[in-house]
């Protein structure tokens, strides 16, 4: 069963590895000692034997991440979310994926990273450009990207992460990044570090930050005079009393500016900017399209470009009510997968409540730009409508509890405590055959487990009355 794992173990020098009782234990030891490639091979051998082993699949994704194959790990975690989104392994996959995506997106703030090698399986879901909607649903183009991404999750086509795409668009357009770097949100605005970090981040009217950035360190203690000057400039540009002191009004304005800036929808790309972006993100296909809202109906035109800029599948024109955006996006995803001969979507259609589509999309956008707390507030505003869009609901849960360390420990425990034979459960069942009633995994632990008179051999007693 674990042939490859056994071969690997035979060549291991570590006595601890040689003693490892199972492939899972060996994989964890290899991960812990930094041999992620070998751990990945062992876990993939476990998955070849049992493709339904979600815990092994989670750690296989982690092994890929630790080996530097972030894009591959992301796609695996995304697939696990679509398979088991409500389970522990699904929630941990979401956390792991978000952490990986944030790290990659933060990388775009500093400069263009080296693109990964194309796999033929990655798609860039660029927001649809707005050709006119009378202001009713300005974020529909982005919402469509989220809906398509959700429909494709778990299929053979893996969408590029939205945080990475958003950061990359800013970079391509040579705009000051709208993505908020890691840790900034957690620093209170009424502390020197938090105040300085915001002023170093926010661009002033001339496009440069209010406070000059010093290398990559945003937590560095600023010069008092420079900080006062930056505050003064911010106050004067935001119609505040220019005191040079960060009073409560200034703090509030800083927070609102930060959130407002992250809430701005990504700017449209010029046609000649698409292919360079596709290449820079290591994608194989890109969605390019427009939408127009007229009389409550949405007209969407879609094209799927390959790396040469040609149509990978025939372009589509869709006309539908905004209430049907969920099912229509799934149909579009299905057409793409069918056209590329990559199977069909793994999930059924969702139907987000149309009135809440706008705030839910804004919550997703804020979250993908690194403002988790602000995103949570937007999701809370959506109320019960959140339940109509599983992606937004999962993200709302995640923004409320993004780092479930205890769950991670339990999952590791599940990986390591499993015996492939499950001999403990078998022993409990044998004991139960003989009348025993203990063990957590014996026949009595499931709803099917009833004591059967017929099989327990109890004798029927018929006695003549006195």
């Amino acid at each position: 069963m674990f042939g490859l794992g056994l071969c690997l173990a035979a060549g291991l020098a570590s006595p601890e590895l040689a003693r490892a009782a199972s492939a899972e234990e060996r994989a964890w030891l290899l991960l812990r000692t930094g041999e992620a490639d070998r751990a990945s091979a062992v876990l993939d051998s476990v998955l070849r034997a049992d493709p339904s082993d979600l815990v092994a699949a989670y750690y296989a994704a982690e092994a890929h991440a630790r080996a530097g194959r972030i894009a591959e790990a992301r796609c695996r975690w995304l697939e696990l979310e679509s398979l088991a989104g409500d389970e522990e392994v699904g929630r941990l996959s979401l956390t792991a994926r978000r952490t990986a995506e944030s790290a990659v997106a933060d990388g775009w703030i500093e400069g263009e990273p080296t693109p990964g090698a194309p796999t033929g399986r990655r798609v860039l879901l660029l927001p649809l450009d707005n050709l006119g909607d009378a202001g009713a649903s300005p974020s529909f183009g982005l919402a469509w990207s989220y809906l398509l991404g959700e429909a494709l999750a778990g299929s053979e086509l893996c969408p590029i992460g939205m945080p990475e795409m958003l950061a990359a668009i800013d970079h391509r357009l040579q705009e000051p990044p709208r993505r908020v770097p890691a840790d900034l949100e957690s620093m209170p605005v009424n502390g020197i570090a938090g105040l300085a970090a915001r002023l170093r981040w926010l661009p002033s009217a001339d496009g440069r930050p209010y406070l000059a950035r010093e290398a990559k360190e945003t937590r560095a203690e600023p010069d008092a005079a420079a900080l006062e000057k930056a505050v003064l400039r911010f106050q004067s540009e935001h119609a505040l009393l220019p005191t040079g002191s960060a009073d409560q009004g200034t703090q509030r304005a800083l927070e609102e500016t930060l959130v407002g800036r992250a809430s701005v929808l990504p700017a449209p790309l010029a046609p000649d900017q698409v292919l360079p972006l596709l290449s820079a993100l290591g994608a194989d296909y890109a969605l390019r399209g427009t939408y127009r809202v007229e009389g409550g109906r949405v007209q969407v035109r879609l094209a799927w470009l390959d790396r040469a800029g040609k149509d990978a599948v025939p372009p589509q024109t869709l006309l539908f009510s905004i209430d049907d955006a969920g099912p229509e996006s799934r149909n579009a995803a299905a057409s793409l997968l069918t056209g590329l001969r990559l199977g069909s979507p793994a999930r059924g259609a969702v139907r987000p409540a149309a009135p809440a589509l706008e705030p839910m999309t804004l919550g997703l956008l804020l979250s993908d730009r690194g403002l988790v707390s602000a995103a949570r507030e937007r999701f809370l505003d959506c109320g019960p409508a959140l339940e109509t869009w599983p992606l937004a609901e999962r993200m709302a849960d995640w923004t409320a509890d993004p780092f479930p360390d205890s769950q991670s420990e339990r999952l590791l425990s599940r990986l390591l405590s499993r015996r492939s034979l499950d001999a403990g459960a078998s022993l409990d069942r044998l004991s139960h055959d003989l009348g025993g009633s203990f063990g957590r995994s014996g026949a009595r632990s499931d709803p099917n487990g009833v004591d059967l008179l017929g099989t327990s051999g109890r004798i029927r007693v018929h006695v003549e009355g006195p």
Partner: protein, 361 residues
């Protein structure tokens, strides 16, 4: 001496050093079963609701269980009816695990709270509930107290195979049958079993065999009958696929007839043996955040006494189970359709749930 052995085992389980903090748990498994069947005389119906409640503690190397069972059973047919309600059983068990859980020594007792005199009406309810084909939860009113001493272990285990053996001795205490009293003491029994479990590429199999050798049952202090012996076997094989898990299983039990003592008041049918067997096929896949199982089972009973001593039936079922961080929830419904002796009708329906918390999740 037996009582001393029970307490010695109980104390050894409790005194075993705890490897970790004690984990507590509870489990509720409400079950409803309805059966209707034709006899040569009339149509009969039995409805039974059982609520077993279990409390458990796990100290790593030892575990303790405390259980009680509430029952509400009603029978109607042949122009009369009867019912049985209330707390039917209390039970406890202690188990100690050794050598990384590969060996277990356990002692447990169950006490039927119906072990006093049965009214004729209660007895009338119990009699059909004892039929092998009914497959209803066991109200154990005729069983009085039982004490079980059990040892089980894994003498051979590799990464992909394990052989397991178990031995049990069950003592039954005396009970007064019917108002006005006849003292009945069920026979003590010895049981032994062995199981072999193995894994392959994405598959897992398990076969087990068990036997029981009975003793002498006594009425009013005198030998009344010798029970027969029993041999049972079961096998199950599972294979995981990317879309779910396929399971195939079968079980079979053969019981030999016993013998009545000279002058016994028992009917001969009371010690008659028979065969019982089933075969099942099920498919499990992830659904609604948990695991859903659709199953189909066929079972047959042959040779036992009574209207339901000869039955064959089809038993389709749907089950769902979900595990949470510290709890689990299981639901199951099934239906029975088949025939009894002389092709008379036999049908039924059942629904059950299981809610587990903590160590019993």
């Amino acid at each position: 001496m037996t009582r001393g052995l029970v307490w010695a085992l109980a104390c050894s389980a409790l005194l075993a050093p705890a490897a970790r903090a004690v984990e507590l748990g509870a489990r509720l498994r409400p079950q409803f079963e309805a059966r209707s069947f034709e006899t040569v005389r009339a149509d009969e119906e039995i409805n039974e609701t059982v609520l077993p409640i279990e409390l458990g503690a796990d100290g790593g190397r030892w575990e303790a269980r405390l259980g009680l069972e509430l029952v509400s059973a009603a029978w109607s047919g042949e122009g009369s009816s009867g019912n049985l309600d209330g707390l039917s059983e209390l039970s406890w068990s202690l188990a100690s695990r050794f050598r990384e859980g590969r060996w277990i020594v356990s002692v447990g007792q169950s006490t039927s709270l119906h072990d006093g005199a049965l009214t004729p009406r209660e007895a009338r309810v119990i009699e059909p509930l004892s039929a092998p084909a009914l497959e209803a939860p066991d109200p154990r009113p005729h069983d009085a107290g039982r004490t079980l001493l059990l040892a089980a272990g894994t003498p051979f285990e590799t990464r992909e195979r394990a052989l397991q053996v178990a031995l049990a001795y069950e003592l039954r205490s005396e009970v007064e049958l019917f108002e006005g009293g006849r003292d009945f003491e069920g026979p003590d029994v010895v049981r032994a079993g062995a199981a072999f479990v193995w894994t392959g590429a994405a598959s897992r199999g398990e076969v087990a065999i068990a036997g029981e050798s009975g003793g002498t049952g006594r009425l009013d202090g005198a030998d009344a009958y010798e029970t027969g012996s029993e041999l049972s076997a079961r096998a199950r094989w599972e294979r995981a696929f990317s879309g779910g898990r396929l399971g195939v299983g079968t079980s079979w039990t053969a019981r030999s007839g016993g013998s009545l003592s000279a002058g016994s008041l028992l009917r001969e049918s009371a010690v008659r043996g028979g065969n019982w067997g089933d075969a099942e096929l099920d498919w499990t896949r992830r659904i609604a955040g948990g695991e859903g199982t659709a199953g189909l089972r066929l079972f047959a009973v042959r040779g036992f006494a009574g209207d339901l001593g000869h039955v064959q039936a089809l038993d389709p079922s749907l089950a769902w189970r979900r595990e949470f961080d510290r709890a689990s929830l299981g639901l199951r419904v099934h239906a029975l359709t088949g025939s009894g002796r002389d092709e008379r009708g036999f049908s039924g329906f059942g629904a059950s749930a299981a809610v587990g918390i903590g160590v019993l999740r």
